[in-house]
Subunit: 233 residues, 2 copies
C-alpha cells in the first residue's frame, strides 16, 4: 500500500490562519517536505513550526536563487524522487505550502511530477489576497464585479493595459517592481484608490495608502486597487 | 467599553477548512450573526454548526429573494441595528461568512454600515476558487500568469470579451447561467480546457470536465478555465 502526498496550504503567515485540516495533517505527519530558497529559512516551515511533531522527518528541497528554470527544475526533480521513495514505502508525506498550494504555489511542480503515479490531495489555504483585503479593511469584489490578479513582474505596458481594462485589481509579488507599478498606477490616475500591504497577518505587517508606501518592498507585498466610489454600500 | 464585530470566513463548506482562528472565535462567541435567504437554512451556519456554543444568541438577517436592492438593504439595515445594539452593550458579535468575507461576501454590507462606529476585524477564509482548484487537481495560476475572476451573471458579450483577453479564468456563481457560459466557452473553442465544479469540499461535490457537466447547476458551482498546454510542468 502506497503512501499519499498532501499539498497543504498554510495561509498567509499567521499560524492561526491555517485550516483545522492543515493543522491536523501536519500534527500527525511522520514526514514533512518543503522548499527553501538558496538555503534561507523556509517561510512555510515557520508558519507550521508549532504543529510539526518532534521527530518528524523533514525533506528540504533547496531551490537555487536564479531566474533560470533548469536549476529549480533539478531541485524539484530531486525532491520529487525523495518524496516518491517515502510514498513507495507506504508512508504519507505532508508538503508545506505558504498561502494556497495552487495559487502561485511551488507545490504544482511536485504535483506535475508525481500526480500520475501517486494519490495526491491538495488542501486549500487562505490566499495572501484574502488576507491583504481583510487587513486593509477593503472588500475585494462584490456582486457582479470582476477581479483581475496580476503578478508585479509583468512588463510595464502589459500591466498598464490590464489595469486599464480591469475593475478590481490585486497586484502580487510587488517586491523590486514597486517603482514600476506605482508609476503605472499614478499615470492612470488611480493612486487614490490603491492600498499597499506588506506581510499581511504577520507581526511586522504594513498597511498603507499606496501614496505613502515605502521606497522598497519585500517579495511578500501586494497592491489592491479599486476604481470609482465604494461599490458595496 | 464597546464590543468588537468579527467577520469570520468559514471556507467553502467542509468544516475542517475553517481556520483555527475562525473556530476559536466561534466556539467562544456569546452572539453569532448570519444572513439567510428567504427563510432558507443558512449555509454559513451549517458550516459552523458544530463549533457554535450551546446557548449562544443568534442574530438572523433574513434577506428576501429578489434582485431588487432595496429589500436586501433593508434587511442589512435591520441586522446592523441589532448588531450595533449588542456591540454597544460591550459584547462581541461573530458574523458567520461562507468562503471569505470580502470575496463576493455579504459581510461587506454590514462592514459598510458599521465600520465607522465600531471596531471590526475580518478573518479571511479559504475561497471557493481555491477549493475548486484543489478538488479538480488543477493549479489556478503559476509564475507570472494572470487570473481573471468573472461572475456568471455577466452579459454574454462581456463574458466573451473578458474570457478572450484572459489567461486563467474562474467563473463564479454559475447556477442558472450555465447554458450561456457553456455556449461562450464552446464558441471560443475552450471547452477542452474547462472543468466544472459543484459544491467543492462538501459530500455532494461534483467535479467534471465541462463537456460532461449536468444541464442544471446550483448557485454554488464554478467553471475553471486554462488556455494552452499545462503551464506548470
Amino acid at each position: 500500500m502506497r503512501g499519499k502526498l498532501y499539498g497543504v496550504g498554510l495561509g498567509p503567515g499567521d499560524p492561526e490562519l491555517m485550516t483545522l485540516r492543515a493543522h491536523r495533517l501536519i500534527a500527525g505527519a511522520g514526514v514533512v517536505a518543503y522548499p527553501t530558497l538558496a538555503g534561507a529559512q523556509s517561510f512555510a516551515r515557520s508558519i507550521a513550526a508549532d504543529a510539526i511533531a518532534p521527530g518528524a522527518r523533514e525533506i528540504v528541497m533547496d531551490v537555487p536563487m536564479t531566474t533560470a528554470r533548469a536549476p529549480a527544475q533539478a531541485a524539484y526533480d530531486k525532491g520529487a524522487k525523495e518524496i516518491a521513495g517515502v510514498l513507495e514505502q507506504g508512508e504519507d508525506v505532508i508538503c508545506l505550502c505558504e498561502g494556497d498550494p495552487f495559487f502561485y504555489g511551488s507545490f504544482m511542480y511536485l504535483f506535475a511530477r508525481l500526480s500520475a503515479r501517486f494519490e495526491i490531495e491538495v488542501v486549500p489555504g487562505v490566499t495572501s489576497i484574502a488576507a491583504c483585503a481583510a487587513r486593509a479593511g477593503r472588500p475585494l469584489v462584490a456582486r457582479n464585479e470582476r477581479l483581475t490578479v496580476l503578478p508585479g513582474p509583468l512588463p510595464e505596458d502589459e500591466l498598464r493595459r490590464r489595469i486599464e481594462g480591469a475593475e478590481a485589481v490585486a497586484i502580487m509579488k510587488v517586491g523590486r517592481h514597486l517603482a514600476k507599478i506605482r508609476g503605472v498606477i499614478e499615470d492612470l490616475g488611480l493612486t487614490g484608490g490603491a492600498v499597499y500591504v506588506e506581510r499581511a497577518s504577520l507581526p511586522e505587517e504594513v498597511v498603507l495608502p499606496l501614496a505613502e508606501a515605502p521606497e522598497r518592498a519585500p517579495y511578500f507585498s501586494m497592491i489592491l486597487l479599486t476604481k470609482g466610489a465604494d461599490p458595496w454600500l
